[in-house]
C-alpha cells in the first residue's frame, strides 16, 4: 500500500472534519453572498429616499426649470423667498435642502450653494453641476446669436464608447472587453494569493504541531521525511480545493436564492447592471442573454460584454491557472514546511515569514498595476520571476501574452519549484529533529549540506 496516500488521507480527513473547517466553509459563502447582495439592497433603500430640494435664485429666473426632476429628487423653484428665512424652516417644510443659485454664476463658478442638514450624496451634486453647466454653456452660446441654436445643440449631443478589438497573428479580429479582462486578472491574482497564504500557513502549522508533539519521530521511522512533507502539502491542497469549490457553489446558490426572494424580477434586471462587473456570475449573464430579446436596448450593451467574455482564451486561462496554482502552491508550501520544521513554536516563525511574505505582496501589487498597464516591463519581469509569476502572469493573461513568454515563465517556474522542494526537503529532514535551538537562515543553509 502506498504510504503517501495514507498520509494524504489523514491530513485531509482530520482537517475536513474539524469544527473550524465546517464553520468557515458554511459561514464564508454567507458573508460573501451578503457582500454581493448588500450593495444592491442598500441601493434600493437609497432610491426610496426621495428628496425635495428648494431652489432659490434671488428672482433672477436665469435657471428656472433648468434642473429637471429625477426619480430621486424633486426641484421646487421658490420665488420671493429670502434664503435667511428658509434656512430655519426648510426641514419642517419637507425640504431636504436649499440650493441657492446666485445670478453671478455665469461668471463665477462657485456662486452656487447647497444647504442641508446632511452631507448630500455625490451623485446628486454631480447631477446639479452638470445641469447647471450645460445651461450656462447654452446661455453663453446664445449670446453669439447663432440661428437654430437649439436644433444644432440637439444634433451635436454625442456619446462615446471605445470598442476594443484584439487582432492575432492570423489577422482574426475578436471583440474584447478591458473590464472583463481586468476583473479576471483581479480575481485570479487574488485567489492565488489567498490560496497560497491560507493553506501555505496551514502546512507550516501542521509541521510545527508534529514537531512539538514529537509525532514526527514515530512517523519518519516508518516513512521518508519527504513523503511526510509531500503528503501533508498535497493533503492540505485538497482541503483548500474542497473548501473553494464548496464556497463557489454555496455563494452562487445563496446569492441566487437571496436575490429571487428579496427582489422582484424587474429589480433584478435593473440591479444587475449596477453590480460591478467582476461580481457578475456566469449564470446571471446567461439569464440576461436570454432576456436580451424581449427586454431592452440597455441590455444590448451588456450582452455584448458577455460575448466578449466568451472571447477570452478560456482554455489557456484554465490551463495556466491550474499550472500556476499547483506549482506556485507547492513552491510556497514547501518553503512554509521548511520554516515550520526549523522552529519550535509558532511565535518563532515571524523572522522567517517576512522574506516569504514580501514576494507575495509585491506580486499582488504588481498584478494590480498590470491591470492599468499590462505591457510594462515591471509586469513582464515579475511574470517571469517564479516567486511572483503565478500571480502576475495570471493577471497578464487576459490582456494577451505571447506564447513564448508563457512558455519561458512556466519553464522557469518548473525548475525553481523543483529546486525549492528539494531544498525544503533537506532543511525539513534536519529541522524536524532539532529541538531547543534558535534557528537562523545561516543554520538552515548548513542543513542543506548535511548528508543523509
Amino acid at each position: 500500500m502506498n504510504k503517501i496516500s495514507v498520509i494524504i488521507k489523514r491530513e485531509y480527513v482530520t482537517r475536513v472534519r474539524k469544527k473550524s473547517f465546517i464553520i468557515m466553509t458554511i459561514l464564508a459563502p454567507i458573508l460573501m453572498a451578503a457582500i454581493i447582495i448588500l450593495p444592491t439592497v442598500l441601493m434600493m433603500n437609497q432610491e426610496g429616499n426621495y428628496k425635495k430640494i428648494a431652489v432659490i435664485e434671488d428672482n433672477s429666473n436665469l435657471f428656472k426649470g433648468v434642473i429637471k426632476n429625477t426619480k430621486d429628487a424633486e426641484f421646487v423653484y421658490l420665488e420671493n423667498v429670502k434664503i435667511a428665512d428658509l434656512q430655519k424652516t426648510f426641514e419642517s417644510a419637507g425640504y431636504y435642502g436649499i440650493l441657492y443659485i446666485s445670478p453671478e454664476l455665469i461668471n463665477v463658478p462657485n456662486a452656487v450653494q447647497m444647504i442641508s442638514k446632511q452631507q448630500p450624496p455625490i451623485g446628486l451634486l454631480q447631477y446639479i453641476e452638470n445641469s447647471l453647466k450645460k445651461e450656462i454653456e447654452r446661455q453663453k452660446l446664445l449670446s453669439y446669436k447663432i440661428q437654430n441654436l437649439d436644433e444644432i445643440m440637439k444634433n451635436i449631443e454625442t456619446e462615446v464608447s471605445v470598442q476594443t478589438k484584439k487582432i492575432d497573428e492570423t489577422g482574426a479580429i475578436t471583440g474584447t472587453s478591458t473590464g472583463i479582462a481586468m476583473a479576471l486578472a483581479y480575481l485570479f491574482g487574488f485567489m492565488m494569493y489567498m490560496l497560497v497564504f491560507i493553506f501555505g500557513a496551514q502546512v507550516m502549522r501542521g509541521v510545527i504541531e508534529e514537531k512539538t508533539s514529537r509525532v514526527v519521530e514515530v512517523i519518519i521511522s516508518s516513512v521518508k521525511p519527504i513523503q511526510l512533507m509531500m503528503g501533508k502539502i498535497i493533503g492540505i491542497a485538497l482541503v483548500g480545493l474542497t473548501q473553494f469549490f464548496i464556497w463557489i457553489f454555496l455563494t452562487v446558490g445563496i446569492a441566487t436564492v437571496l436575490k429571487t426572494t428579496l427582489l422582484s424580477d424587474k429589480d433584478v434586471t435593473r440591479i444587475t447592471q449596477s453590480v460591478p462587473q467582476n461580481m457578475m456570475s456566469v449564470d446571471k449573464q446567461a439569464d440576461l442573454a436570454q432576456q436580451k430579446a424581449n427586454v431592452s436596448p440597455e441590455l444590448a450593451e451588456f450582452s455584448k460584454m458577455f460575448d466578449n467574455a466568451m472571447n477570452q482564451p478560456w482554455g489557456l486561462i484554465i490551463f495556466c491557472f491550474v499550472f500556476y496554482f499547483i506549482t506556485g502552491y507547492l513552491l510556497y508550501a514547501s518553503v512554509f514546511a521548511a520554516i515550520g520544521s526549523a522552529v519550535d513554536n509558532e511565535t518563532e516563525t515571524q523572522q522567517f515569514m517576512l522574506p516569504v511574505t514580501i514576494p507575495i505582496i509585491l506580486a499582488l501589487m504588481v498584478a494590480i498595476g498590470t491591470m492599468q498597464n499590462p505591457e510594462s516591463s515591471l509586469s513582464f519581469w515579475c511574470s517571469m520571476i517564479p516567486l511572483t509569476s503565478p500571480i502576475v502572469m495570471m493577471a497578464r493573461i487576459p490582456f494577451g501574452v505571447p506564447y513564448w513568454q508563457i512558455g519561458l515563465s512556466m519553464m522557469l517556474m518548473l525548475v525553481t519549484f523543483l529546486a525549492f522542494v528539494w531544498m525544503a526537503a533537506k532543511v525539513y529532514r534536519t529541522g524536524i529533529l532539532m529541538y531547543g535551538k534558535k534557528t537562523s537562515w545561516k543554520e538552515m543553509w548548513k542543513w542543506l549540506r548535511y548528508s543523509g
Binding site: 500500500m1 504510504k3 495514507v6 498520509i7 489523514r10 482530520t14 504541531e209 508534529e210 508533539s213 514529537r214 509525532v215 514526527v216 519521530e217 514515530v218 512517523i219 519518519i220 521511522s221 516508518s222 516513512v223 521518508k224 529533529l433 548548513k446 548535511y450 548528508s451 543523509g452
Partner: protein, 302 residues
C-alpha cells in the same frame, strides 16, 4: 547469531561528533541495553538504526544483510519523547500508524482489538489523545510500536510515566515479546530495569563505546575481589597489605564494610583476620549494581 549489527558507525553534526566509530552486536531474541549519560549519542544511534538519519560512515546489518529502507517494516520504535496527535482519536491514530508500517486496514484492526483487550484499554478507542493521562497515552503508543510484530524492537525509556503497576505490565509484555521471537534494544537510565531485563549492554559516553558485554559478566568482573561484611555492634577494621577498606558504615547497631583484596589472599584467610574484630553476621562477594558501575565507569572517563 546476531540479528542486528552496527560496524564502526560515525556521525557528525557540523563539527560536533555524535558517534565515534561505535559498534554493537545484538543477538537474536535477546534484550540489549543501550546505556549512557544524557547527550552521549544514544538517541543518534537509535535514529540511525531507524534510518531517520544516516551515518557518515559505518555499516548496519539486519539479519546478516545490509539494512535497507524497506526494513523499517521489521523495526518497531518507541521514542523517548512520546508522540501522538493530540486532537486525533486513539483508535484512528493507532490504525494510521499501523498503516504507515505497511499493515492493511483490516489486519491492523484485528490486531489492535487483540492488543487493546490485552492491555485493558478498549474503552479509550474513541477518546482523543488529549483526554488521556500520560501513562495512558504511553500504553497506546506501546501498542502502536509492537503492532506490526517487528523482528527488532527499540524502546527508548519505555517505563517513564508509568505507575509501578503499569510498569510491571509493560515489563511482562516486553519479556513476552522476546519469548515470541522479538529482539529488543532498550535504552534507559533506570539501571534496576537493566539488571532485571537486559542480557547484554553497551555503555556509550561522549560518542564512544566505553563498556560492553553481557550484564552478568560485567557485574562479576566489576565485583572481582570485593566483599561485603556485616558485623554486630560497632567495629573498626583497618586495611593491611592484603586488602583495603573501601567503605565502612555504622548503622542501627551494625557495621557495614566493603573491602577489596589487593593480593591473592583467599577468602578463608580474610575471614580469619576480620573475625578477630567482632561478631561477623554476614560475608558476601559484592555484586555491584549496574548503577554503581555506570557511575564509576563514566566518572573515571570524565
Amino acid at each position: 547469531m546476531a540479528l542486528f549489527e552496527a560496524h564502526n558507525v560515525t556521525k557528525k553534526y557540523g563539527d560536533q561528533l555524535a558517534l565515534d566509530s561505535v559498534s554493537i552486536s545484538v543477538p537474536e531474541q535477546s534484550i540489549y541495553g543501550l546505556l549512557g549519560p544524557n547527550g552521549a549519542g544514544k538517541t543518534t544511534l537509535i535514529r540511525i538504526i531507524n534510518q531517520i538519519t544516516g551515518p557518515d560512515s559505518g555499516e548496519l546489518f539486519l539479519n546478516g544483510k545490509k539494512l535497507m529502507p524497506e526494513d523499517v517494516q521489521l523495526i518497531g520504535y518507541l521514542p523517548e519523547e512520546r508522540g501522538l496527535y493530540k486532537k486525533m482519536k486513539v483508535g484512528e491514530q493507532a490504525l494510521y500508524f499501523a498503516q504507515l508500517k505497511g499493515l492493511s486496514r483490516n489486519e491492523a484492526m484485528r490486531r489492535l482489538k487483540y492488543w487493546f483487550k490485552k492491555l485493558e484499554i478498549t474503552d479509550w478507542w474513541g477518546k482523543k489523545v488529549e483526554e488521556l493521562s500520560k501513562g495512558m497515552a504511553q500504553k497506546v503508543q506501546f501498542v502502536t510500536t509492537v503492532l506490526h510484530e517487528p523482528k527488532l524492537l527499540i524502546f527508548d525509556e519505555p517505563f517513564t510515566g508509568f505507575d509501578p503497576l503499569n510498569t510491571n505490565i509493560v515489563k511482562n509484555e516486553i519479556l513476552f515479546l522476546r519469548e515470541r521471537g522479538a529482539t529488543i534494544i532498550f535504552s534507559t537510565h533506570n539501571m534496576e530495569s537493566v539488571e532485571e531485563l537486559c542480557d547484554n549492554i553497551t555503555l556509550i559516553n561522549k560518542a564512544k563505546t566505553i563498556l560492553e558485554g553481557s550484564v552478568k559478566e560485567i557485574r562479576s568482573k566489576w565485583a572481582a575481589n570485593e566483599y561485603d561484611l556485616v558485623f554486630d555492634g560497632q567495629v573498626n577494621i583497618e586495611g593491611n597489605g592484603h586488602y583495603n577498606i573501601l567503605n565502612l558504615k555504622n548503622e542501627d547497631g551494625k557495621s557495614n564494610i566493603r573491602l577489596k583484596t589487593t593480593s591473592s589472599i583467599t577468602t578463608n584467610d580474610i575471614l580469619k583476620t576480620v573475625m578477630q574484630s567482632g561478631n561477623l553476621i554476614s560475608f558476601n562477594p559484592a555484586m555491584p549494581s549496574m548503577n554503581e558501575i555506570f557511575i564509576r565507569v563514566v566518572e573515571t572517563r570524565n
